[in-house]
């Protein structure tokens, strides 16, 4: 499954990454090509998994052997909201701020 420029760009868009960040317009195409090649090599390597027939195998998403208990529905103070807000790179009063969403 070779991946092309379009797939790389589409994946980057899903991941909210700008692949041209920090690159000049001249550098960008080569960098994108190199990245696409790297990803292709790695994903081709992933295809080694196709050698195994797993049709009868239940996926294992976590090695945990147990079922977790649940939390009682009781309020409890944890991190201080003001301390959390103090980390905001941009705030207005006690709101976090982002550019206008149309």
């Amino acid at each position: 499954m070779p991946i092309d420029f379009k797939t790389t760009l589409r994946t980057a868009e899903l991941a909210c990454l700008n692949l041209k960040s920090g690159l000049s317009p001249e550098e960008a195409p080569a960098a994108l090509a190199r990245l696409t090649k790297e990803l292709t090599d790695i994903i081709n390597y992933f295809n080694i998994l196709n050698e195994i027939n797993t049709s009868e195998v239940e996926p294992l998403y976590s090695p945990l052997l147990e079922v977790a208990g649940l939390r009682p529905d009781e309020p409890e103070r944890r991190a201080n909201p003001e301390e959390l807000l103090s980390q905001a790179p941009n705030r207005l009063g006690s709101f976090f701020v982002v550019p206008k969403i149309i």
Partner: protein, 481 residues
């Protein structure tokens, strides 16, 4: 006693308890040692001088407390453990100025036990890497040879312990990030069973693989640290209710008749000649001591790197989605709109390897590829886990190399991610299976003079057994000097 910084953790505990040294003296010695070694080593991202000293003075005022097993002991924690009021960066530009509003559970446990955190150690950004070269703040150097990498991602922790900055450290291990640097730097590193130690407050990389654990110069020191940090935490739904043992009371196993399984698929891999030589010799010594070495098989081992990198990057890609420039961390200047805020903040402040892994993980989960990659990898994960379980039914523990390479030169693989990933083959299947494993140094390579290590792998929650075996092996292979 002008070299108290060289004491092992167990010795430090004894001397503090008997008041031969004060907590302030011990912490001062550690801070002084850090000051001396840091210019060359670069193991620490944040040094907590004043805070550590005032904590030590407070301890001295109150006097030693028998209920606090690490009373006055200086330790470092990898900079992925959230520390309230203390910068926690994960070695990323994105979190360069991030001050958590809460403590990681293991940080709370360390402090409750009387330990004093003197520094936060370097790592590959977000623990993604095996050399610390992907740290946004520059790499740590190997204490044995400053031109070599210390391994990673907990490279700062391993280098720090080996350079006697502190007698013990906490790291995290997602695919070998404790064991591999421990081996490359020549100390002991323990990755506990998944769920043995709370992950609460640890900057997440691969949530189903991450586990915190100790690094120290002695097996017993790792056991002491594990005793403090192990146990159920009701804030981490994946932490286990399984009973913990008192690891500090572990005794060396009787090696005569002890059954160690040698996974053929791992021992058949081409090793660096120094490693090959050292490990063959080590196995011979073990055999002569009466250890029963048995061949075992891990038929699906060769798929583990692919399965691991699909699962780990998939989990990472969404664990790192929270770094969006809105609530904390780096924010791009004057973004035109929301999309640009996201794109620019993330791209400017996340390093190339982190971005690469986010892309891989996003791809593996995306529409049309999920079944082929993510689900398939999870199925293979079960096969690999079953292989390890099966291999462990026939022997007490498994024994394997930790790394096929000695500590390498800076820059060797920086342009070759796939090769770098494949180097994790000895360690990462253990994380896929969730098993406990101990890496311990064996000797220095004959020609290189660099540390070589072995890995012991046990059954789930059987840390006590790998520690006991580690104590016995430590008698055969004394700590490096």
């Amino acid at each position: 006693m002008n070299e108290i910084y060289k004491l092992t953790l167990t010795e430090v505990v004894e001397k503090l308890k008997s008041r031969q040294i004060s907590a302030t003296e011990m912490i001062s010695a550690a801070l002084a040692r850090i000051e001396v070694t840091e210019p060359n080593l670069k193991a620490c991202l944040t040094i907590l001088g004043d805070q550590a000293l005032s904590a030590a003075r407070k301890l001295d005022q109150d006097g030693p407390d028998p209920t606090r097993p690490l009373w006055g002991v200086p330790v470092t924690v990898k900079d992925v453990f959230c520390t309230k009021g203390i910068r926690t960066t994960a070695a990323s530009r994105y979190l360069e100025n991030y001050i958590p509003a809460y403590d990681a559970q293991v940080v709370i446990k360390l402090r409750q036990a009387g330990a004093v955190i003197v520094a936060k150690t370097n790592l590959d950004e977000f623990a993604m890497g095996s050399s610390t070269e992907f740290s946004a703040f520059g790499p740590t150097r190997n204490p044995w040879n400053l031109t070599k990498v210390p391994g990673g991602s907990s490279g700062g922790a391993a280098a720090s312990v080996v350079a006697f900055q502190t007698p013990g450290a906490l790291g995290t291990d997602t695919g070998g990030s404790i064991r591999q640097p421990a081996t490359l730097c020549g100390c002991v590193g323990l990755k506990p069973t998944y769920g043995r130690v709370s992950r609460y407050g640890i900057v997440a990389y691969g949530s189903s693989l991450d586990q915190a654990g100790p690094l120290a110069r002695r097996v017993r020191d790792c056991a002491s640290l594990l005793s403090v940090i192990a146990g159920y935490d009701d804030r981490d739904a994946t932490s286990s209710l399984h009973q913990t043992d008192d690891y500090t009371t572990a005794q060396p196993v009787t090696l005569r008749g002890f059954k160690l399984g040698l996974p053929q698929e791992l021992w058949n891999i081409k090793l660096d000649p120094d490693i090959e030589d050292a490990l063959k010799n080590a196995l011979k010594i073990l055999e002569e001591t009466g250890v029963e070495l048995r061949s075992v098989n891990l038929p699906h081992l060769k798929y583990s790197v692919a399965a691991y990198y699909i699962l780990a990057t998939a989990e990472a890609s969404t664990n790192l989605a929270r770094y969006d420039g809105v609530r904390y961390g780096h924010r791009s200047n004057n973004p035109q709109d929301l999309t640009e805020l996201y794109m620019a903040s993330r791209s400017e402040a996340l390093g190339p390897e982190v971005r690469r892994r986010i892309l891989l993980g996003t791809f593996a989960l995306s529409a049309g590829y999920y079944d082929t990659y993510y689900k398939k990898a999870a199925q293979v994960r079960r096969l690999i886990r079953d292989d390890y379980y099966q291999a462990l039914t026939d022997c007490d523990l498994l024994i394997t190399p930790v790394s096929s390479l000695l500590a390498w030169d800076f820059g060797s693989f920086i342009q070759d991610p796939l090769t770098l990933y494949q180097l994790d083959l000895m360690t990462l299947p253990v994380n896929l299976a969730g098993l406990p494993a101990l890496a311990l140094p064996v000797t220095l390579g004959k020609t290189s003079g660099l540390p070589v290590g072995l890995q012991l792998i046990g059954r789930p929650f059987d840390e006590i057994n790998i520690i006991s075996a580690g104590l016995a092996l430590e008698e055969l292979f004394p700590p490096l000097r």
